[in-house]
């Protein structure tokens, strides 16, 4: 199945590959009218928004996982993990919808002016405030991938033997020191969870399309609208002009597919290596 998908996309993007070669990845010109296609702005948008989302989400996810597996009393553990599961199950279109109407105005009126007035000397926080843009998309993505990383981290922590923690306590360690030790032992599994979350963030389409601003440009400021690989496909595919345009979009899809495939394989291998012995 997976191979079939790859083959089909490879075949369908032939026209654009012949036309632009490897320059496709490095060109930042995307203009359907003149039939100039380069994927760099989309790759930039995807990479920046996903990495930022991971950066925001990872500490929180580890905290939640520790809370769930080590700290919380068992009476609230179960409903709490249920809520986290629901968070993972909400359709992304609803995150996007909520993002446009509730979260983006909040960013525009509260968070972004605050960041600009205190950290405005940094290039990341300059420019006109739209509300939508890279930063907003990243935060929405962070909310979406937190449940995934949390679930993996929790499972990995469960795989660490209790006797290890008991040994730490016996040596006089505080609770946090025991937890820290368990986290250190689980680090490759947690890394796997993080990479899995990254894969999800890269491929996320609807929520990002609705809040990222949809403008094919590369700017240092996180307030500026940008574009991601998945959202350009979502926006332009159905009304693409001419076969070269479609072919270029499919090539963007092919890049996206390749990247997520590698990332997911990596994540799975890391997770297997930790949980196999449990």
């Amino acid at each position: 199945m997976v191979i079939l998908i790859a083959l089909e996309m490879y075949k369908d993007s032939a026209e654009s590959r012949e036309m632009f070669g490897f320059g496709f990845i490095f060109s930042s010109e995307w203009n359907p009218v003149t039939e100039q296609f380069g994927a760099l702005p989309f790759i930039f948008g995807t990479v920046v928004s996903s990495l930022l989302a991971l950066l925001l989400s990872l500490p929180v996810s580890i905290g939640v996982a520790v809370f769930l597996s080590e700290i919380a009393p068992s009476s609230i553990r179960s409903p709490f993990s249920f809520l986290i599961e629901i968070l993972a199950a909400i359709p992304s279109i609803i995150y996007g919808f909520w993002g446009i109407f509730v979260f983006a105005p909040f960013m525009r009126n509260t968070v972004q002016p605050f960041l600009q007035s205190y950290f405005g000397f940094l290039p990341f926080f300059q420019g006109v405030i739209y509300g939508t843009g890279l930063l907003t998309a990243s935060i929405i993505l962070a909310i979406m991938i937190t449940p995934i990383i949390t679930a993996v981290t929790r499972d990995v922590l469960k795989a660490i033997p209790v006797s290890q923690r008991e040994a730490a306590y016996a040596l006089g360690a505080t609770k946090w020191e025991a937890i820290k030790m368990a986290l250190l032992n689980a680090k490759s599994g947690i890394l796997g969870g993080a990479v899995l979350g990254l894969g999800r963030a890269i491929g996320e389409t609807m929520a990002v399309t609705m809040v990222i601003g949809n403008k094919a440009q590369i700017k240092a400021s996180l307030f500026e609208p940008a574009y991601s690989m998945a959202s350009v496909i979502a926006n332009e595919f159905a009304e693409a002009s001419g076969s070269l345009h479609i072919s270029a979009l499919i090539e963007v899809g092919l890049i996206l597919f390749g990247v997520t495939f590698v990332i997911n394989s990596l994540a799975r291998l890391l997770i297997y290596s930790v949980t196999r012995n449990a």
Binding site: V2, S92, I93, I94, R268
Partner: protein, 290 residues
Amino acid sequence: MSTPAKIYGPPKNLARRKFTNSLMITLCVVAGVVTILPLLYIFFYTTKSGLSSVNIDFFTQLPKPVGESGGGMANAIVGSIILIGLGSLVGIPVGILAGIYVSEYSKSIVSTIVKFTTDVLSGIPSIIVGIFAYGIIVLPMKRFSALAGGFALGILMIPTITKVTEEMLRLVPQTLREASLALGVSRWKTSLFVVLKTASSGIITGILLAIARAAGETAPLLFTSFGNSFWQTSIDQPMAALPLQIFSYAISPYEEWHRQAWAGAFVLIFLVFVVNLLVRYVTRSKYGAS
């Protein structure tokens, strides 16, 4: 484990260690609260904005043009049901058979590959699956169709169903299989009629989860089933779907359409919530708290 003497130093830094301890534990609790907040916010906001627009019309009427009040999403709801039905035809048999293969014939190297590929497939962006369905169904047919949308949803359902089937089959005691084989029942009949039957309620919950996920998928439908604002029940034509309708309404500038979209979002969230609650209830009563 490596350097205990360094980490657990003499008692003089006990105050600092105790402080770090409470600080980090508090941070973990805060992280938990911070994660739950958006969920509750989305949930209550959607309920607040959507509930007022959910009425009989919403489920029975067609969309009205801009400016007229009333109207509903009946065509989108029916479309979603048809698309999920088509998806189930693809996803359920393939998913269950793959699950049986991985669990019952797990010695071979092929099953390891199948297991790995399923895990990877579950991480493939849904929009890629949409392109795939576009390539092999929309292009030859030369038009958008519900068939292509259903096919894409089906592919997305496979990993969830395979995973759950595999896990449920592993819970079936080995002795049951041996008893069946000892009676002279062939291997495939054992798998299909004894093992699968025992695990059926667990598998059904897995299918429900997959359906709930497919019901909210938007990206693969954008250029397969495409959307439609009229009654349309033949599967080789473009068809509306609830998430698609929400998307096109949400990015429109009209207040009235936004309210309709919130109502649609409310219906989707409600569906997801109920299915998850149901699944949790069923699995817990059967296999103990997990």
